[in-house]
């Protein structure tokens, strides 16, 4: 493989990197010009051929999703840009929005050209105030330069892009929760089908894509399919359903490492490489106990699973839910897995939207059981009870509307399977957490 050269983060930190002038000096909006010279379906074909998979967590092939829109639809089609980024440990969307916003707006414009959308909404979590101001400024610059608005660059392509701020709820990142929230309602995810491509925002055909996915679109159109496919992991020949994991990826690394940060690497680096080479090793000279591979919803890798490649299929082979957001959280050997799991369960109990009973009740029961364990009153049958509750909630067993529930179950399943001895000892000795915890869930 050729020497890896960062692309998504290449301009971040350069002087004036967020301005339109500096972006254009580096070839910015050449991708859009190229897309405008092609038919919409040709743009979709390029993205499809690149093998780009969604970076928001589910890894669905991007070009394929675009083809699910009804053909020759007369009415409006919408693009919803998912910038709700709330999965614990994840911050790569924020890094590129704040550092190089025009590559995202260019990706949005190219995507809208491909899917024939004339309106795009960026659903941005409220807490990202800086991203809001940087993006709004970039959008204003684009309108002034006829890169957005009516008859863009003298063509018949028209596009409006609006920023829409959320109000502090994780569930707004789930694509149909996002749509409901954008419509001004509570963010209760919808039952699927119909999928958004058929009936989405304002009941019209809609595509939802993540910020990083759309940034990749910019570079695919500019640099070509071969460039994108020159890095990553090809499809597994033994698995006909594996589309492979191509392209660069923004890995977030946080927790107990010396150099937490966002690093761009080809898909498929191992957790160990990431911790040792980018993360500067575990802090305080300690050892790894567990690693979250892609946001807490994905569960945990144990210390002997660190050679797992972080491509779309690697974490799954190690029993995790998937690659998720590629947010790697490192947990050192001085940390109690009871504290870690309690933290995950408390998050999910707080963020469940409450619509499905197994999720609303299950997340809260798991939190309460862990609260009991961490207070020194755990019972030996609690671990089996946790496994039973975790096994009964989610899209996988078919009892809930959205995947939050699977993401709530997975850390519990992984922790109890991979660290059972530690939990048993904690309960048997009646150990107590040393962490001050002021409020459980509310």
């Amino acid at each position: 493989m050729a020497e890896f050269e960062p692309v998504l983060m290449a301009r971040i930190g350069k002087p004036d990197a967020t301005s339109l002038a500096s972006y254009q000096a580096d070839g910015g909006y050449d991708g859009l010009k190229k897309a405008l010279s092609m038919a919409p379906a040709e743009v979709t074909d390029i993205v499809k051929a690149s093998g780009l998979r969604g970076r928001g967590g589910a890894g669905f092939p991007c070009g394929l999703k675009w083809t699910f829109l009804p053909k020759d639809h007369p009415g409006p089609i919408y693009l919803c840009v998912n910038a709700d980024e709330s999965e614990p440990g994840t911050f790569n969307n924020r890094v590129i929005m704040e550092g190089d916003p025009h590559q995202i707006i260019e990706g949005i414009a190219i995507a809208c050209r491909a899917i024939k959308a004339q309106t795009a909404y960026i659903y941005l979590r409220y807490e990202f105030g800086k991203s809001y101001r940087v993006l709004q400024n970039a959008i204003d610059e684009c309108y002034a330069a006829n890169l957005l608005g009516k008859n863009i660059l003298g063509t018949d392509f028209c596009l409006d892009v609006y920023l829409h701020r959320g109000a502090g709820a994780y569930i707004c990142g789930e694509e149909t929760g996002l749509i409901e929230s954008l419509e001004g309602k509570r963010a209760w995810p919808r039952i699927k089908p119909p999928f958004p491509a058929i009936e989405g925002l304002f009941r019209k055909p809609t595509i939802v894509n993540n910020i990083e996915t759309l940034a990749c679109v910019t570079h695919i159109v500019r640099r070509g399919v071969d460039w994108f496919r020159s890095m990553g992991v090809p499809p597994d020949p033994n698995n006909p359903r594996d589309p492979g994991s191509f392209g660069p990826k923004l890995y977030c690394i946080s927790g107990h490492v010396n150099k937490p940060g966002c690093y761009e690497l080809p898909l498929g680096v191992t957790a160990r490489q990431l911790i040792e080479e980018q993360g500067g090793g575990v802090w305080k000279g300690r050892k790894v106990k567990a690693v979250v591979p892609g946001g807490i919803s994905m569960g945990f890798l144990s210390a002997d699973e660190l050679d797992t490649p972080l491509d779309f299929s690697g974490p799954g082979k190690a029993g995790c839910l998937g690659l998720g957001t590629a947010a790697v959280v490192v947990i050192d050997d001085h940390t109690s897995m009871v504290d870690v799991l309690f933290n995950c369960c408390r998050f999910m109990a707080h963020e469940s939207c409450g619509q499905c009973t197994p999720c609303r009740e299950g997340t809260d029961w798991m939190r309460k059981i862990l609260e009991r364990i961490r207070s020194g009153f755990g019972k030996s049958k609690d671990l089996d009870l946790l496994m039973e509750v975790a096994g009964s909630m989610g899209i996988i067993p078919g009892t809930t509307i959205c995947g939050l529930s699977d993401g709530a179950a997975w850390p519990v399943k992984n922790a109890i399977k991979k660290f059972r001895g530690e939990f048993e000892e904690y309960i048997a000795k009646g150990m107590k957490s040393e962490l001050p915890v002021l409020v459980d869930a509310h």
């Binding site: 980024e85 709330s86 409220y126 807490e127 990202f128 709820a169 946080s254 995950c344 962490l435 002021l438």
Partner: protein, 157 residues
């Protein structure tokens, strides 16, 4: 009478052209009102509903779903300070920081200081995990915080 000034109404109306219907402006309107008034009173909620041509219960339904908005029973202080307690922050002292800030301000999460200056909140993941533990003041995030640096930050005008 008249919880919403003409200026606020104008700002809400300015959002209408972005969406095909007025209901989609609900969150925008709630933000505009809460930013200015530090709460969304029942009266303000009714007036938002009128502007958006909705039933007040529809606005209330949305408003109450997002723990973000406060009614007149618990208005916000001038500054809203959030301390993150999710995993990356917890691993690097977030829970201890939250306890320290509570102690310093003499309030529990969710409460406002007696002088009405600061409302303290716990946050779930703020998305600044490379700077754990982090603190959000209104909508600006500050990385790598300690009890001392948070104290200074809160004092800053």
């Amino acid at each position: 009478m008249g919880a919403l000034s003409e200026e606020i109404r104008e700002r809400i109306r300015a959002e209408f052209p972005k969406y095909p219907n007025k209901r989609a402006v609900t969150l925008n309107a709630l933000h505009i009102v809460q930013d200015a008034q530090r709460q969304v009173s029942i009266e303000a909620m009714r007036e938002i509903a009128e502007l958006l041509e909705l039933h007040p219960a529809e606005v209330h339904d949305t408003m109450s779903f997002y723990g973000f908005f406060r009614d007149e029973k618990a208005p916000l202080g001038k500054k809203r300070v959030w301390v993150c307690r999710s995993i990356s922050c917890m691993l690097r002292g977030g829970e201890e920081l939250l306890a320290d800030v509570c102690h310093d301000l003499g309030v529990k999460p969710g409460e406002t200081t007696a002088d009405g200056e600061v409302t303290l909140e716990f946050a779930e993941c703020l998305g600044v995990c490379e700077g754990a533990p982090c603190v959000l003041v209104n909508d600006e995030c500050y990385p790598n915080m300690t009890a001392e640096s948070t104290r200074e930050l809160i004092k800053k005008p």
